[in-house]
Symmetry: C2
Subunit: 108 residues, 2 copies
DNA sequence: ATACGATATGTTTTTATATACATAACCATT
DNA sequence: AATGGTTATGTATATAAAAACATATCGTAT
């Protein structure tokens, strides 16, 4: 038996969770939303919609995109995007460890 | 902004989570599955199925039921049912507090 | 015997979510 | 001007999860 868990941030509605976290991570290191989506085996449509929804709910941009040009276009994280990515990383690492520890204490 | 979280136990498949926890809690203090379901605003069918599935996956009974009689019938927790109820209560309390603390540290 | 309140299940319908499909616009390069 | 790779979006379809519906059985009390 093992414990499973999920964390996410809400502001009345879901705004930031594991899915967006992984997506931003990939975008940061690839410089492209479509490439990030491909590497996560999700459709571009889905990835784009996820970002768009979060931005609208947060009231701030997470991506700075450009269309056309030699590479076709691209995307990079705004400062806000980087901030969320970094914070969520630290948060989920710490919270996850605590949950695992509690699980061991009561079911291990 | 606030943090939200979910914990559950798996043994290859989902076996015990918040829904079952609340259900067992109500059954324990009401002595009836149908009454517990009503108080949680869920259908008897749903509640019964949830227990049945968990029992099958855990390989042990969580409820001791009786049908007919003056009250129509009833249900009470087996020792295993009580054990899971109690352990999960303690676990989720502790884990939840830790998650909230981590959230405050990084987003508070 | 009938009624009542509970457990016990199978089946159908609805709802929500995710996936797929389709198309347009942009712009450096060839 | 045609191409390629991207961002950008609307719409339709499929899948899964939840809710609703429908019955059967059981045992005490009336």
């Amino acid at each position: 038996m093992q414990v499973r868990y999920k964390f996410w941030l809400e502001d009345r509605e879901h705004v930031f969770g594991e899915g967006l976290f992984e997506l931003l991570q990939e975008i940061e290191q690839r410089g492209s939303l479509s490439e990030a989506a491909r590497s996560l085996h999700m459709s571009y449509r889905q990835a784009w919609g996820q970002v768009k929804k979060a931005e609208s709910r947060l009231g701030q941009k997470l991506l700075l995109t450009r269309v056309g040009g030699e590479t076709g276009g691209g995307a990079e994280l705004t400062p806000a995007g980087k901030w969320f990515l970094q914070r969520f990383q630290l948060f989920k690492h710490e919270a996850g460890a605590a949950v695992e520890a509690a699980f061991q204490r009561y079911f291990g």
